[in-house]
Amino acid sequence: MKLKISTFKEPKHTAVVTCVCWNNTEDVFSCSDDHKLLKWNLINNECMTVATFAEDFFPTSMNLFPKTGQSGVKHQHDVILISTADGKFHIVNHNGRIEKSVVAHQGACLTAQWSPDGAGLLTGGEDGFVKIWSRNGLLRSSIVQSDVPCFNAKWSPDSGAILYTKGNCLVIKHLNSNSKINKWKAHEGLILCVAWNPNHNLIISGGEDGYAKIWDTFGQQVSISVKHDQPLTSVTWSPTGNMFVLGSYNLIRLCDLNGRSYCLDRPSTGSIYSISWSSDGTQLAAACANCHVLFAHIIERTGGPWTTTMHWAGGAAEEWKALLLNYLKRSLIHRPSTDPVKWCTFLGCDQSDQLDYPDRVIQIALGFNHLVIATVKQCFIHKLTSWNTPVTFDLKEGSISMILLAERCICVVERAGVSVYSYMGRLLASPRIPRPETIGQATISLGPDTLAVIDHADRKLIQVFDLPTGLIVRSSTDNTVTKLTHKMTVSCIALSQTGPLNERQLALLDYNRDLYVVTVKETKPKMFKLGPQVLSITWSSETELLVGLRANSVVAWCCPRAATQPDWLTLTTVSKDISDLGRNPSIMNIEDGVVCVRRGNGSLLRISLASFPEKLLKHIAANMWDDALQLCRTVEDETLWACLAVLAWQYNQLPVAEEAFALIHQYHQVYYIQHLRNAIPEKLTTSQTLNSKTVLSN
């Protein structure tokens, strides 16, 4: 992953540029000490002066009104908030007319930001005050008074707290309770810039000591960047939060969540005062001290170890998973042409061809035999067998943040909302989910016929939407929504990828890192705990095999539904120790029993964990009990027999279950089965489920 930097030849500003903001994916506003507000269009490389302000107008920060995507509230959305060095903040509309100027601080007003819900704004000044104002510019409260200047202040993503800098400390203050303050020393020098990402709720701070540090909301350090020679003047999260960019004197650096540097560039721009990401996360604009506004594209995003934009889930032929897609040019996906022969074999076509798209490509997802590519305006679905005839559909807005793939449908997360399409490009459903920009990888999960989302407001609540599948298309109103409530904040969810709708299982990780599993469609869904201290989970895309990652081991739960019986659960669980996982490891996928783990340093670790159990599960899913039995007899593995026993019991295959239980020494179960077969052989087919339930409850 690299930054491709471009600037206009001549600077359009005549003084230091202090702030930039993206309007939409192609428009950028910039404001400079020459009192001008400029608007840049990146498609036709134009630059237009929107307004020239008064001679004493020296901007310090700028913030665009958040695009909430809710058209219900008809306020004027296109307003810009600019704070200036004379202690005022100004609300400016997109035509450059100042709608309101309010004196907010003594000395300079150093920072100003709209709240994410658009209800108010905060300002911080040299006088040490942090104030909150209504959206019309009326003072609501002075939240903070101190004797040191507040260089930067940010809203929390839920607008319920603010984060501000105080010397070398960071402080989080919750708005609804006066006492709750969380303050910690973050840097050795002054903290100049902070950013707070809505996706994973992590905070990043950059200081005069040359470090950028990532924190969670409790002030624990998550990671730290390398040391820079000059103070860091700007830091910004990418919208998805999987990387951030930091600016310093003559330096711009792109890093990932673990603080590892992807790319370093040293443009001779002077200090970079402000950096802003476009909402699709592929471009950024930076305000430079040498009067330039610098634009950068993220190129060469590979499907290798690092991206989260690519999903390698699911899958047919092993070969095309090695497919690396590079963003080489802006509107072009180019496959590496270094080895055309390989490409032929990979793709099963005669030549290595390259795909051209009319617009800039933003997101790519690969899996389930399809390649889905989202450009600014459209979405292209390529079937891997008929590569050159993609199905296309138009996107609502050009800021797509995520594509999820499942067996039968695609979920597209846009700023305007979440929509589910079939692979034929037909809109299946558009569930109403508030604030889709806060949805991250962990908070949404797509199954073949269900979509689960952690509720934005109440993170203990999970909403599961049934998606219309097959030929019947229901209107979006009668989508059935199941609401599951956990006793604790849920941090990560995953839906099982196979099986019929009424057996759909949801695995969830809560804030304590405990793993629970629940069958969604039960009348009284009950959470069964599978284990503690799980870092990351994923379902196999072909079977009901759940894999979890612990700090020092990887665990596969072959029959998560056996969680009702703890001893069965232990019998059907496979675990393997691994070391050197590094920081923040995660599970990428599991395929034929081979788990792919992404280590902290970005490398992929493939471990053979449960190849036989997965094979067994495949046989059972295909109702091939003889084959399953044969496999177990051949391999003679206790876990395998246990899996077979549990599953055969669940699927009413009593002879199979009997043999299997005998081999795992569960003799009471064997006797019970024998009793059932002798006593009521004729009723077995109907009463089995009932019986099994009574047994389970014992």
């Binding site: 590892r260 370093l264 040293r266 280590r599 340093n601 493939r606 053979s608 190849s611």
Partner: protein, 131 residues
């Protein structure tokens, strides 16, 4: 006669022409005139010389100024080159760290894959033995 004329400040010269000025004076006057002319030419020569010197000097000055500027420029360039080199070095260093980490990753991946291969071979062997 001559004396009388002399009283009226009139003189004869050698060829008996009547004159208002005394012979000797006349001669001296003429000498003076010649000398003056000579002096004038000399002064003119001198001034020419001086202007030419001045021109040369100023030319020299300009040259010096130019050279001075060039030298300053060169010094600055040298300085900036050093800085550029430092930048370049930092950039390359970053590249090196990046590549090293990439290498480390690939190494790790290779090791993991080798282990995977070994386990898979083991499984294959185990299964073939069963037959």
């Amino acid at each position: 006669m001559a004396d009388e004329l002399e009283k009226a400040f009139l003189y004869y010269d050698d060829i008996n022409k009547i004159r208002v000025v005394d012979n000797t004076v006349l001669k001296e006057t003429e000498d003076l005139k010649n000398n003056c002319k000579e002096y004038e030419t000399k002064v003119e020569d001198f001034s020419k010389l001086i202007t030419s010197i001045l021109a040369t000097m100023s030319e020299l000055g300009e040259n010096v100024e130019k050279q001075k500027m060039a030298a300053i420029g060169a010094i600055n360039l040298l300085k900036s080159v050093t800085k550029e080199r430092e930048d370049e070095q930092a950039k390359l260093q970053a590249e090196i760290t990046y590549k090293t980490s990439e290498l480390e990753q690939l190494d790790n991946e290779y090791d993991a894959l080798q282990i995977l291969e070994a386990t898979q071979n083991e499984t294959i062997e185990y299964l073939t033995q069963l037959r």
